[in-house]
Structure formats: structure tokens, C-alpha cells
Symmetry: C2
Subunit: 312 residues, 2 copies
Amino acid sequence: MAAGQWDLIIVGAGAAGLAAGIYGARSGLKTLLLEEKISGGTAYEAPLIENYPGFLSIRGSELADKMGEQCRKSGAIIHELEAVESLQLNGPRKTVTTNAGSYETPAVILATGSYYREISVPGEREFRGRGVSYCGVCDGPLFKGKHVLVVGGGNSALTTALYLSGLAAEVSIVHRKDKFRAEEALVKDVISRKNVKALYATEVKEIMGEKFVSKVKVLETNKGQHKEINVSAVFVQAGEIPNSQLAVDSGVETDDCKCIKTDVYQRTNLPGVYAAGDVTNHPVKQVGTAVGQGITAALEAYAYIKQPYYRK
Amino acid sequence: MAAGQWDLIIVGAGAAGLAAGIYGARSGLKTLLLEEKISGGTAYEAPLIENYPGFLSIRGSELADKMGEQCRKSGAIIHELEAVESLQLNGPRKTVTTNAGSYETPAVILATGSYYREISVPGEREFRGRGVSYCGVCDGPLFKGKHVLVVGGGNSALTTALYLSGLAAEVSIVHRKDKFRAEEALVKDVISRKNVKALYATEVKEIMGEKFVSKVKVLETNKGQHKEINVSAVFVQAGEIPNSQLAVDSGVETDDCKCIKTDVYQRTNLPGVYAAGDVTNHPVKQVGTAVGQGITAALEAYAYIKQPYYRK
């Protein structure tokens, strides 16, 4: 097998990609992971993960490092800081081209993740992981009994607010417009909760604090007045965007939100091409679900390569 | 809320159930797990798990204990040694009856797992986890370069043999009949491998060794002769049976193999009833995939309880 030839190439080395790498390599496949940044993905940035089964509480970077080490020890090769530039995914031999070279493989797993849209205000990056969060289910339980702020007006913002209303003492929803754009039933439910307050026509201008978030400065656009609100956390819900452009350009089908469509085997519309983790249209985006999908994708890729008759 | 009333009841406290418990309780649901044995499920019995992402190598019982502790600390209540005797799953209020009492809940997650059919020969239980295995993907990599034996003649036996042929030095398949009952293409592929040997009309009579498996005694039924074969591991593939009878009796739909049918949200055919882990028809049965399904089931159950309009 030439140096550029592999049994399995995994694009992205977050939780889904690393789980796939562990299973691919353990199955005896010559497995390569290509990661444009460093391995670990979104999990790497989480200051504290308390809901990945097996760890009561662990820094995201530590969990990511453990998975990375395990993936390498399983026999997979991880190329960090190597960005994939194009994919040719049709036919039995696929070509993956990066900024460093070109690789051939019969099977590809797309595990390129997603990113959260920022609201780009002072303090947002500074306090990320120290009060600024993009995921209510992940970080909500850290703020039990506190006052938290949700930024946004769509379904994800209102769903997050509803989720947080069961945990936090008080939830304020800050929205730039004077009407939420979420589903009416959801809006009704959320604003009927005693501990939820909707602040319409209001923009977050700055997130402030010492070590952790303690307040935000907002602008009430109708009055043209600034105001400060004391809060322990800011949940930004301005949108989650899958890193699926490369896949789209290569003929992989996505849904309305540009998430890659997969079936229960993590197959995409192209034979030998799988997807796992936050880039997919799976309804839940958690480390534990990404891991499960990565495992499934790797074992299915194995069956595809070694036993083409396995799935009829 | 009366003592017998819960937001979420999870039947079974293996990896899937515990993951669901962590997420259910963290979401603020009053969550009860009912487990007829002790918590941990199939994972508990594994002497060594090397493929659950995050742990390079961990005893199954230790991983199970960690998940159990995390589930309890999240706020879930686990009743061990409490067997569910009947389920009433229709309508918005469901009733779970055990040997100790009766509970009401709007949402149930079935995570009752499965068990492996044994071949019931001397040494099988004694060496379980010390050379006797029921899962090639789980334990195959522990026997790289060794001689291993697969017992069975169906698709799962042949698939296991094929998987092991890429890792072990030599794979012998012992089958009682003189013809495999697996798919023809699979049989052809497996017996064409240089390091695979098929032993037809042969029955395993005893599994032997000191601390670990070192040989098996077989009977060649046509000749009526006994023979000993030196092997490092015996992979029993006599069938995996889902613990789904209670579910079937309560109107939950299963497939031909009696595995519970679920969709991508882990929903069953009954509103408010979910299933996760080895009892489902998901194609992969690993701790990591059970965990992912448990998480999804819990978050979907949450959405069902709190936001009935959430899924249209």
C-alpha cells in the first residue's frame, strides 16, 4: 500500500472522529484522521463536562486528550493542522486532498462538526466557558438557582430558555426584535413561565465580569437607553452552523440546515461515505451521542470495505 | 407529587439506562431507574474495556460504577434488585409495577439490554472474561496474533470469524452441522481466508485452561472421536437475545429478532415510550452506542414531557 493509500480516512478529530478512529484502527483498518486544528473538537473548549457518562466532572481538554491518546494507541494516525481542501467521493476509490498532500481510500467518515454563531460583542470570547455558553443542555445545570440570560429569538433560543427555566431561578430572554420568531406554541409556553422574562427590542452590547460573568450591558433600542443587568451566565443562541461545505461541494446530501443527512448506520447518500457527530442531522448534539455515531460509522465502514454483501 | 409518581422511569440500569438517568435528572426530571440485578448491565461483566472513548483501558465493573455514581449524583434514584413485573404503557399516564410496588409516570425508557445464549459446557462460565467472549468487536483486539475459536454457524458467527481473521493469527470455526447457515457470500469469503479453518460436524464439549483459556475439547460427531485444540480464546456466537418480553407484552413493536424498533429519536411506536441500548434494533451493540442512545432517549423524553408541540 503506497504512503498515500488508506483503508479509512476520517475528516475531523473531535469526539465523533476520535471514536471512529479508535474503532477503525482496532478493527485492523489503516486509519487516518485529518484535523485542520488540533484534535478534540468542540469538547476541547468546554471548561467542564459533567454529562459524559464515565466522568463525574472533567475538563473538556482533558477528555479530548484522553480520546486522542486512545485513538493513537489503537493504531490510528492523526494529522493535526492539516486542512482538507477538496474531496472526490464518487466511485469505489475516493481522493482526499489537503494543504499537505493527497490520499486515496475506499471509505470516508465526515466528522467535521459545527460552530456556534457569535454575537460579536466585547467580553463574549473572553468569558467563553466562564459564563458565556452556547449550549443549555451542556452548561445549564452549572447555573442552578441563578439568573441567566438567553440571547436570541428563534426556536433554539426559546427551547434553551424553557430548558433553563427548570433549573435557573430566573431566565431573561434578550431579543433584538419586538417579536420572537419561534413557533407560537413554544413562545406561549415559555413566556407563561413565572421565572421567565422577555426583553424585546433589546441588544446585548457587552458581557462583563471579573473572573466569571456577572453582568451584561444592553441597549433598549426603542428608548435608545443603555442598562446593566446582573446575570451569572449568558446563553448565546444565534445559530449553530455545520461545517458541511466541503461535503456539499462533493455531492453529499444535506437538510435545510445544511446538516448532513444520515441513516441509522451513519451512511450518507454516497456509498462508502459516512458522517457522524455535530455535522449530521441527528437531533442531539452531545459528546456522548457524537461518540456513539462515530463508533457506528467506523463499524459500518469496516463492513462496507471487508464485506460488501453485508448490507443488502 | 406522591411517592409513586415520577417524571421519567427507566427500566434497566446498564450503560444506556445510566446515561439516560444522568441526562434525565440533570434536566430536572424526577427520574427513577429500576434494575432487577445491580446497576452496570453487560458492561459490568467485561473484565477489560479498551474501546469506550475516554478510557484507554478500564475494568467493566469500574466503568459501570463510575456511571452509576454519576447517575446518582445527578439526582436520579436507582432501585437495584427490583424487577419490573408488568408495564401499562398506553395513554398519557403509564404504570410500572415491580415486585416492590407500583409507579406512575408520563414517560418510560426501556433499556433492558440483552443476553448471550450460552453453549452450556464445562468451563464456559468459569472462563468468561478470561478467554471466553461473546463479542468479537469488543474483545478481538485482545487476541492479536493468537489462535482463536469461534463457535456457531450463522451470520453472527461468520461475521465474527471474518472480523477476527484480520486480527488473530488463526481462526477456527466450530460448527455442529456440516454446513454453515450464514449467507453464501459471507461463507465463501470467510472460508477463502488463509488463516480461517472450518471444523464442521464438531461440538465443543469443554473449555479448559489454568487462569486463562488454553484449549478446548471437541467431539467430531461423524467419527465419534474427541480431540483437544490449543486456543487462546473462544468466541461463542450462539445468539443474542434481547430482554424485550415485557415490552412485547405491553404493545411495544419489535422486529423479527424481538429487538425493539426505534427511530432516530429513540421513540418506539407508543407515545412517551422510548428504548435505548442492546434491547433495540440498532445495528451496533457497544457501550459507546448504548450511551449515545440513552442520552437521546432522555432528552427526547424531556421534550415530550415539557414541550408536547416540540416534535410535530
